[in-house]
């Protein structure tokens, strides 16, 4: 045991802890927005709510089942984005999504219908008429085919990266609500009013993020009239753009090419996959005539976003269910050097040239100049299925907190009072050593705070009231590690050891117990995080966080400090460590044993 104290350097552990705290706080103050406040949930600080109004092809009111199904899909998309604490409710014919914070753009993307079809490209025509606009890269088939062996896709032409910012001011080149594919570097200049099928009251939104919807403000005034209008628009668009008559097809293509694909597509999400389709490319620079769909969204088994090393951009990788996988393999074999279009909600998000055969069963990638979050959203939309309804979206409105700052205050006061009560109890019970508990708890609190700030920034974790309650409860469980440790030290003293030698031995055993117990908590947190959705996910996250921090603090702070204390003379005094009763037991036992031995001899 003497050897052990030689090996153990408490100062090193404490220093390591100091470094961790320093690094975390350096990150808090020198990265991101540098605001040292965690992101708060809807119930505490309010959020943004987006109302989605169902648009049915026939203008009738959607069935409850399809609304509920849509709600569930949107909900799983929300949860696919990570820990966010959003809520999704059906309110009449609307679906209301509320997300924490003031950024409603993420919420809007959740209402995308996400009907994916893969269609062969029969013909293409650049969006020409416009002045100023550099012609669309003449033949997207030829250049820059990525060397991805399995059906690589040509990235949408145009610059990568910061494209959306450049399209400021001008009407968005393709007025999709969701910026699936970043618009090209130069938006087609043709203006919205020319588009015959563009919904009338749809001025392009000014400034800001041009890639997000107009159409946004279309919803509010006269909703009843709008459904009729929607129906008419859809009918009209179907007639021209889904015609099987080659003459009508040609006419439709040149019309669309002339208008430059501006305005929200009235057909969005409502095209018939069994018919041909005339549609715009996402960059707004090309009109394509597509054949009937060969694969539909329901046949996607999985979708995920990835960073493509070769291209240096984000892609969405798709896995098909077995049948479709075979269809796709056959199609790629038979159509080498021809183009296939990935059509999402009636818009071509990517129309690559097929460079090689995709073997059945392997993944296919969609390229499209995505930003990381766009790729992630698209993957989520595809993975969590298409909505049974198409929605038009209202403005994102701010919503005040349900409970607000007064309850945040109440929670914090409760936490403080709880903390003080725990400390008083520990001081009464563990005497001077209770100070160690206070210190551990406070340090743990400091770590939790830094991590909440950082996680709010990086993965959008927002602290809601349940989370605060979880943290308050964390006080108790963090104190527990010390309790386990100290009770073990007591055991050792009962067995007749001095306080000094009881500490290292007590630690050796307590460590095992603490690790076993916390493993259970971590398993629980991980399972709930990965399998459950909604509030449970956020809760599981806090639970896992406090458990891991508990381990960090107990190993790096509590134990080294108690170890240092054990080498001090005062700590061995029962008046300070409160262990008099234990020593008494040890003494009695020893006396009994000696008495027995004496009697014997």
């Amino acid at each position: 045991m003497a050897k052990k104290s030689g090996q153990f350097h408490p100062a090193r552990y404490l220093a390591l802890f100091g470094v961790i705290v320093a690094v975390l706080y350096a990150l808090v103050f020198f990265t991101g927005d540098r605001e040292p406040t965690p992101q708060l949930g809807i119930d505490l600080q309010g959020g943004t709510s987006v109302t989605l109004t169902a648009r049915t092809p026939d203008g009738s009111s959607p069935s409850d089942e399809s609304l509920d199904q849509a709600r569930k899909i949107i909900e799983s998309r929300v949860n696919g984005l990570g820990v966010s604490g959003a809520s999704v409710v059906v309110d009449g014919d609307n679906i209301v999504i509320t997300v924490p914070g003031s950024d409603g753009e993420a919420a809007k993307s959740l209402g995308q219908t996400a009907k994916l079809t893969i269609r062969p490209v029969l013909q293409s025509q650049p969006v020409g008429a416009g002045a100023g606009a550099p012609p669309a890269p003449a033949n997207p088939a030829a250049p820059s085919a990525p060397e991805n062996p399995s059906a690589p896709s040509v990235p949408a032409p145009g610059t990568s990266g910061g494209a959306p910012a450049e399209s400021d001011g001008a009407p968005a080149p393709q007025n999709r609500v969701y910026p699936l594919a970043a618009p090209g570097d130069t938006p087609a200049p043709a203006s919205g009013e020319d588009a015959p099928e563009a919904p009338a009251p749809t001025p392009a939104p000014s400034g800001g993020d041009a890639s997000t919807a107009p159409g946004v403000s279309a919803q509010s005034p006269a909703e009843a009239a709008m459904t009729d209008k929607a129906r008419e628009e859809i009918e009209a668009a179907k007639k021209t753009r889904q015609s099987t008559d080659p003459a009508v097809q040609q006419q439709s293509m040149s019309d669309l090419a002339a208008t430059g694909c501006v305005g929200e597509d009235p057909l969005r999400g409502n095209d018939d996959p069994t018919l041909p389709l005339v549609a715009c490319n996402a960059n707004g620079q090309e009109v394509l005539l597509l054949g009937p769909a060969i694969i539909k969204g329901e046949q996607i088994a999985n979708a995920q976003s990835q960073f493509d090393q070769q291209q240096g951009g984000y892609i969405v990788s798709l896995e098909f269910k077995p049948d479709a996988s075979q269809v796709w393999a056959d199609f790629t074999r038979e159509n080498l050097q021809k183009r296939a279009a990935f059509v999402l909600d009636t818009e071509v998000i990517s129309a690559p040239v097929i460079q090689g055969v995709t073997p059945a069963g392997s993944a296919t990638s969609i390229y499209g100049n995505f930003s990381q979050s766009e790729a992630q959203s698209l993957a989520n939309q595809l993975k969590y299925g298409s909505l049974p309804l198409s929605f038009s979206q209202s403005d994102a409105k701010t919503v005040s907190a349900t409970l607000g700052l007064s309850s945040l205050k109440a929670g914090l006061i409760a936490g403080l009072v709880g903390l003080i009560l725990v400390l008083l109890y520990c001081l009464a019970y563990y005497r001077a050593l209770g100070v160690l508990i206070s210190l551990s708890l406070i340090l743990s609190g400091i770590l939790v705070y830094a991590l909440l700030v950082l996680l709010g920034r990086s993965i959008g974790y927002s602290l809601d009231l349940a989370g605060i309650a979880g943290l308050i409860i964390g006080i108790g469980t963090t104190a527990d590690s010390f309790v386990v440790y100290f009770e073990r030290v007591k055991d050792e003293i009962r067995e007749g050891r001095s306080f000094r030698s009881a500490v290292p031995r007590g630690w050796a055993r307590a460590r095992r117990t603490i690790l076993s117990g916390n493993t259970v908590s971590i398993i629980g947190a991980a399972v709930l995080y990965f399998l459950a959705i909604g509030d449970v996910k956020g809760f599981a996250f806090t639970l896992g966080l406090t458990t891991i921090l508990d381990l960090v603090v107990v190993f790096l702070v509590t134990h080294p400090l108690l170890h240092i204390a054990s080498t001090k003379q005062w700590a061995a005094n029962p008046r300070w460590n409160g262990l008099g009763a234990m020593s008494d037991v040890a003494r009695e036992r020893k006396a009994a044993a000696l008495a027995a031995a004496a009697k014997e001899s």
């Binding site: 409970l403 109440a410 725990v422 001095s498 399972v527 044993a593 014997e600």
Partner: protein, 422 residues
């Protein structure tokens, strides 16, 4: 089981007999007979669980708006109205609090949004009138009109889907933890821990059903917290049991049940301390957040945790370890070992009755063994055996010594060294 009870009664804890209740609790010297009274605990637990199951089956739960859906009331804001005034008017008209009152939007187009449990038609008529009288919301044409107050039905946000997923996650969690405990400890412990946790869940849910507390998402989250807490608590006790029963078959002084009882005693103070340090903040949460501010989510969560942690603490002491012992005693090996222990005791008693010289030794050693944990028992026995162990009935005490020598390090150290230090 009956056999065991008599054995426990036969050997009362001698050394700490003179201490008070708190001292016994504090020093954890094995004074509380928990395992030997497990039949009583089973009966109590069984009755409670039965009542809970019946209540769940017959009364069911009261679900909140998040599960059942409810009503949403909107009307334009007026400059002077605040959300708390709106909540007051609501409460006056309907009789209970709205679930939430928020403002939506900003500037001229902002409006109040009230969420409440489903309102009946007369209720919503009354509410609209009350709100109109109180706030005179102005319509698009600039005059106050009751038509600006809209009432619509909202769906549940937390409907079946999330609950289903939570339950699925729960089952996976229990299976994984079961496997973990089975690997880290042993299979019987895994069964006992899971069974105890299941009972916790049933009892907590049952209390909710019995009292008629409303089930909200916070309740479900709280229930999941309890699971983790209860299992954690149980693992800590089992860890001690495992330590105490190490080398069980190398001695004949103590049975598995007695060692388990000792473990419960030794961790009793920890269980109480941990529960207290967890419950104190929860109580603070309840008192401050609920009585002073009336915050729903906090109330729901605090309530379920308060109930659950109390139940969880009870179960780790009075259900999990007794169940473990019951499972263990089904094994022939443990049964055989118990028999040996009882035989040995019976012989010792006979000798004592016959006035045999060595009997005293055995009694002292046995008494220590029941009341102290393994290591301190060793101290006593080491002392006893050093002088006259050999005389006391052939090889038996020797077996005890060699058995304890395989215990963790300190036991293996000669007792003399320890004496020197003091």
């Amino acid at each position: 089981m009956g056999e065991n009870t008599t054995a426990a009664v036969k050997t009362p804890p001698p050394s700490s007999g003179g201490r008070g209740f708190f001292s016994k609790l504090y020093t954890g010297t094995g004074a509380f007979q928990i395992i030997s009274r497990r039949r009583q605990f089973y009966i109590v637990t069984g009755v409670v669980v039965l009542v809970c199951i019946l209540s769940i089956a017959i009364r069911g739960f009261t679900f909140g708006i998040d599960f059942e859906g409810g009503s949403r009331i909107t009307f334009p804001t007026t400059p002077q109205a605040t959300t708390s005034e709106v909540a007051d008017v609501f409460e006056e008209a309907i009789g209970n609090e709205p679930v939430s009152v928020q403002t939506v939007g900003s500037g001229g187009s902002s409006s109040f949004l009230i969420q409440a449990e489903t309102l009946s038609v007369p209720q919503s008529v009354e509410l609209r009138q009350a709100l109109f009288d109180a706030f005179q919301p102005v319509g698009a044409d600039g005059t106050p009109t009751i038509d600006t107050i809209g009432v619509s039905a909202v769906s549940s946000t937390w409907g079946g889907e999330i609950t289903k997923k939570a339950i699925f996650a729960l089952v996976v969690f229990l299976v994984l933890v079961g496997v973990y405990i089975a690997i880290r400890f042993e299979r019987d412990m895994a069964f006992a821990a899971l069974l105890a946790v299941l009972l916790d869940l049933i009892v907590t849910a049952g209390i909710y059903s019995l009292v008629g507390f409303e089930v909200s998402p916070a309740t479900v989250i709280g229930l999941l917290t309890i699971l983790g807490y209860s299992l954690y608590d149980t693992v800590v006790v089992f860890d001690k049991v495992e330590e105490n029963v190490e080398g069980l078959f190398h001695q004949r002084r103590r049975t598995y049940a007695e060692q388990a009882n000792l473990a419960v005693n030794q961790t009793l103070m920890r269980s109480i301390n941990t529960s207290l340090t967890t419950i104190l903040p929860i109580l603070a949460l309840m008192v401050i957040a609920v009585w002073m501010l009336g915050v729903g989510t906090l109330k729901d969560l605090a309530l379920v945790l308060l109930i659950g942690i109390t139940v969880g603490t009870y179960s780790s002491i009075c259900t999990a370890t007794p169940l473990l012992v019951t499972f263990k005693e089904m094994h022939a090996k443990i049964k055989g070992h118990n028999k040996k222990v009882y035989e040995r005791r019976a012989r010792a008693e006979e000798r004592a009755a016959a006035g045999h010289a060595a009997a005293d030794d055995d009694d002292v050693a046995d008494g220590e063994g029941d009341s102290a944990d393994g290591d301190s028992g060793d101290v006593a026995r080491d002392g006893a055996n050093a002088s006259g162990g050999g005389a006391a009935g052939g090889g038996r005490p020797r077996a005890g010594v060699s058995g304890t020598a395989t215990k963790p390090r300190p036991g293996a150290r000669p007792a003399s060294k320890r004496r020197k230090r003091r």
